[in-house]
Amino acid sequence: MPDMSVKICGVSFKNPVIAASGTYGYGMDYNEFYPISRLGGISCKGTTLVERAGNPAPRIAETPCGILNSVGLQNPGVGRFLTSYLPRLKKQNIVVIANIAGNSVEDYCKMAERLKESQVDIIELNISCPNVKQGGVNFGILPGSVAEVTSQVKKHSDKPLMVKLTPNVTSIGDIAKAAEGAGADALSLINTLTGMRIDIKTRRPILRNNTGGLSGSAIFPVALRMVREVYKCVKIPVVGMGGISSWEDAAEMMIAGASAVQVGTANFRDPFACIKIIEGLESFADSLGLKSIAELTGTLNEW
């Protein structure tokens, strides 16, 4: 059988399937379906310096082949993440990616300081959340601010830094290059696309926040194109996500250039989605006679 492990910015994952931030909490909920140690890694719920209550409900609306969400970064804050959630998660023998968010560059830097010498393996810089009023995606839409927050966080961190990009930009390649130039060790993309649904009876948006982030199969082709574009622009590893719901999707994403994938919304429909994707990728790599799943990355033969 092929070697399923992959290495991203110096960190070894037992397979290339990572649970995506925001859809998987801090992991323990899904540990009630299967041992989450079977995953390559988990990107934890976006965490901030202090606890956040998030947006009022409704926070979710169904869309064709997807969903909109506007949770608004509800989380217990980095303090409780470190004392209560992280130790439990690390016991599961799994790569832990801490997804951090903030209202200011200073917030992001303080977060990085708090995570120093913790058991966190990688920091994922969330500069792409569309559901908060301050910060979030505002840092992610201009190359200058992406470079600024990335370079500042690097100065305050001893962890590999993965920058999570928003698709709500004109040129994602320029953003990716700015992050790489500022010292990012890896990139992950895409976060959700901003969208809206309306209840025609009440003429109100279904989401209490009016707009939300679109995820699920509907965005997969957009994500795939953007991963490809970014892969061609940068030398650092790219982690692909956005609507992956089958092993075939994951294989496409890796062929496009992803070193690993994150799976999010698919877990809602099938709580075993990540496991099925790992097993499917393994059989696929075996059928191709690959020695290692990593050989798949970036093998697209473009027209």
């Binding site: 925001g22 998030g54 409900a57 926070r59 809602f268």
Partner: protein
């Protein structure tokens, strides 16, 4: 592993009111560990989100679940087209259900519309010590009356138009009841405005009250934080997951004015 995914075979299906379906499923793994007030999450072909449906009954020995659901949209419409012998892809049992006292205690159970089904197992637990007040739009929308009668409960039916039972609201019937009687606990599930009214009366009469809340749901297991309900405690106000910490809350935990 607290949760199971299984293919529950439909053993029986009846349309008990227009657009409301009563389905019996063979789902032994989930039935084995189900508790009163919990729910299951049902996959609908072609939809990203599962549909959370409360358990109207379960028999651990026979491996059977009973669900009663109303067609509200395209997902539940798809569910309603499944036939006896078809499988439903279900996850469960989910959520924190109703807390039960000793069955010799006096319970009042208040259900509104399609919020009534999860209350049936509560009534079956308290039997003759339960007073059940249910409200529906009209006679043809009323459901589960025979089941509540068979459970041996004292049963009060209300309809909005007076076409059956008392012409009025469940909260009016509850107020009248509490003016003459007392009870140890109140259980309610139904429209939020009704449950708020029930919660207010419970508080006035200093009776513990459990409410089963509803919200648009994502994962169903506590991970995505989509289905939150405003709650309050000594530490302040919170947004609390309906799928994991609920759906059943103490009425005093819910921040009704938020």
């Amino acid at each position: 592993m607290r949760y199971t995914q299984e293919f529950g075979k439909i053993l029986n299906k009846t349309e008990i009111a227009k657009g409301t379906f009563d389905v019996i499923l063979h789902s032994p793994e989930i039935a084995k560990i189900a508790a009163v007030g919990q729910f299951v999450n049902i996959l609908c072909d072609g939809f990203t989100l599962r549909r959370p449906i409360s358990l109207c009954g379960f028999n651990s020995e026979k491996g059977i679940l009973r669900i009663v659901f109303e067609v509200r949209g395209k997902g539940t419409e798809w569910m309603s087209r499944l036939q006896v012998g078809d499988d439903m892809d279900i996850i469960g049992p989910l959520g924190h259900g109703f807390g039960l006292l000793d069955s010799s205690k006096k319970a009042v159970i208040v259900g509104g519309g399609v919020g009534t089904p999860p209350l049936l197992p509560v009534a079956q637990f308290y039997r003759e010590n339960a007073t059940v007040i249910t409200g529906f739009r009209n006679a043809s929308a009323s459901i589960l009356q025979d089941d509540f009668a068979q459970a041996g409960t004292n049963y009060i039916l209300c309809t909005d138009d007076g076409s059956a039972g008392i012409h009025g609201l469940t909260t009016q019937a509850l107020e009248q009841y509490l003016n003459k009687n007392t009870c140890d606990i109140i259980y309610t599930c139904g429209p939020k405005v009704m449950m708020h009214g029930v919660a207010r009366l419970a508080e006035e009469h200093k009776i513990n009250c459990q409410v089963s809340m509803e919200e648009r749901m994502g994962c169903g297991v506590g991970a995505c934080l989509c289905c939150v309900c405003p709650t309050k405690d000594d530490n302040g106000n919170h947004l609390t997951r309906v799928c994991l910490n609920g759906p059943v809350f103490m009425s005093t935990e819910v921040d009704w004015d938020a």
